[in-house]
Symmetry: C2
Subunit: 388 residues, 2 copies
């Protein structure tokens, strides 16, 4: 059933019971092992913004995501291939996943036209015209050479899209999934398929069955982490995940980043996550701490000698005061963005480690209230006023 | 003769001979030892832009300079004092020197009015009105608590200032030097005096004699590294330094940063330097290498798999290619600025170490051609087109 065997997934906890579908796992990839549930920091341009690989190791990252669309446009996938591939290019020897490019083509590119065969779009950088289809998206990802490639899909906003739009995009995603599989050649690279179906239970179920029936190495759950409510997302997961019962493959929900949202999705059986949220809000001065967050630009921190989080081992908290970080943000000093990013990723990845610890100890359902309290009760998302 | 004894300076090489006034030394400060000749990276806002203290240690910095004017305005010297002083605030336990504020008051502040008693100016940040006089400049620096404070002075552009302007500024600097000494109280902080005198040999000589006659802990040579030619600077040094023959104190030329300029000033008997040059040009993509420099934004580096400098141990060169750095600069990724800054400071501080090695080995005059070649023959300054 598995296409290449390069993404072997071990499930280390007993099968789901009534209390939770959460599971502890271990994903074996060519460049290393990823303990799950796990969060992937996003390195859009082959760098997790403001961090270097030593920083990434220090915050505990075991896998990062890089954006196919961005790297295709700049510096170019063929250039990265000539330079020895993405791992060597960015100095990161641990696992990397490249996304399909579908989301960025739809959300960032200008004047895109989607047809049944692919997407024609203009670069957001220079207006030049490009075309992505399943074969090209795979070719680009094979050139980049990440551990995991993802089949080209057509995501649509789940809540604001009508049923006909969702149905058409889901249908295309299915055809493109088969073309992506047929095009994929690299034996040292895993390929994940993407389930679509929006918030329509029958479409979501049909998409899950179809994608799960193809020989992908992992199942990505797409078309969520968009404009849906947490309840709508939970309902969609509760349609899709039970249909994957007994499926040996890892499950990846694309685009989810707030600890509370992740906790809920883990509970519903998801293993892998990525989002720009912790790093993006860090650069806006939003620091995640147990039970909530600090907006370091708030005047009350200007004289605060305490670390951002007393027991945090990160580069920011082990040396500097809130007052110093507040000063760096006010002075727009570059160090501010790095220190805040180190902190939020340390918090996020530590949160995942706490989830895994509870699963390993067999106390996950019992520990959910404590994890929920640490996650800040949903307070860790973007403020309405934060720039996207 | 020494005011506080907190800046004991050991001269480790024999007295100057006809071949060179260069000397090897060791400056003992409250927070540590500084081997001289030495270069001080500039941390304007209590951070060397884009670096953290671990980076500073890694590039080999033994002392950094912080700007009194900037820290007075933001976050405020009293706030830094309440937070335990500048060392604790910025997480840097090694020596720090704060400048007098005189240069920034004159060059950055708006609508400044200099009178015989001090300078009234508007903040470049918010237009608020402030006044610096010698007593206040010392008070601010005592609150910051660096290892070394510097007496308040009035610098003027050496080449474009008429003799009368230079004479008046030098005269004021002398009176302010005495007032700075009288105001200085901290027994754990050294105080350096500043020689002025522009390019006028008699004024430069008189200023050197007067400042050297006061009980400062070190002698700063001011009013240079401005709009003068290298020959004019050499002539001014050749007036001042011989008058300090037999003086036991460290000599510091403010504002000089290009390796070739530094080499020449070392040769003429200067021990200590500071400049924003290596860090500022790094953030513009100018990388210093033996014999010259790379402008990493040049198209020819986009595919270059080599490190910026093959034998360089810095964070940039030991992991990444020129192509990767070129990509980071094009994508305006924050990591670009940190990696380039680490490299240029590693180059600068390694260059100082090579000068010290030649002095220690007794081969300095013989090694000058090799050092000059490594310094790039004057090619390491700002390009005419570089932003200031």
């Amino acid at each position: 059933m598995i296409a290449t065997g390069v993404a072997r997934f071990e499930i280390l906890t007993p099968p789901a019971d009534a209390a939770s579908r959460a599971r502890l796992g271990r994903l074996h990839l060519p460049s290393g092992v990823v303990e799950t549930p796990q969060f992937m920091p996003v390195g859009t341009n082959a760098t997790v913004r403001s961090l270097d690989p030593d920083d990434l190791r220090e915050v505990g990252a075991s896998i990062v995501l890089a954006n196919t669309y961005h790297l295709y446009l700049r510096p170019g996938h063929e250039r990265i291939a000539r330079l020895g591939g993405l791992h060597r290019f960015m100095g990161w020897e641990r696992p990397i996943l490249t996304d399909s490019g579908g989301f960025q083509v739809v959300s960032l590119a200008d004047r895109r036209v989607v047809d049944d065969d692919g997407v024609t779009f203009r670069s957001h950088l220079d207006g030049s015209v490009h075309r992505f289809d399943p074969e090209h998206a795979i070719r680009v990802q094979e050139a980049l050479g990440a551990d995991v490639a993802v089949a080209f899909d057509q995501p649509v906003p789940p809540r604001s899209s009508g049923r006909a739009v969702v149905a058409q995009a889901t249908e295309r995603t299915h055809r493109w999934a088969e073309r992506s599989l047929a095009a994929h050649r690299r034996p040292d690279q895993a390929l994940f398929g993407i389930v679509q179906g929006g918030l329509e239970p029958d479409l979501r179920a049909a998409s899950t069955r179809l994608i799960a029936g193809l020989p992908f190495d992992g199942i990505a759950i797409g078309g969520l982490a968009g404009d849906e409510t947490p309840e709508q997302r939970a309902a969609a997961l509760d349609v899709a995940v039970p249909l994957l019962d007994g499926d040996p493959r890892v499950r990846y929900l694309m685009g989810l980043g707030s600890p509370l949202d992740i906790l809920d999705a883990v509970d519903r059986g998801v293993d892998l996550f990525d989002s720009v949220l912790p790093t993006r809000v860090a650069r806006n001065g939003q620091l995640w701490i147990p039970g909530g967050r600090l907006n370091i630009r708030n005047a009350r921190f200007a004289d605060d000698p305490e670390p951002v989080q007393v027991d945090c081992p990160c580069r920011l908290c082990r040396t500097f005061s809130r007052a110093y970080l507040a000063h760096l943000f006010r002075a727009q000093e570059l160090l501010a963005y790095r220190l805040a990013t180190c902190h939020n990723l340390t918090f996020s990845l530590d949160f995942m480690a706490r989830i895994r610890m509870a699963l390993r100890a067999g106390t996950f359902p019992a520990d959910r209230p404590g994890l929920r309290a640490r996650a800040g009760g949903g307070a860790l998302g973007l403020d309405a006023g934060d720039p996207a």
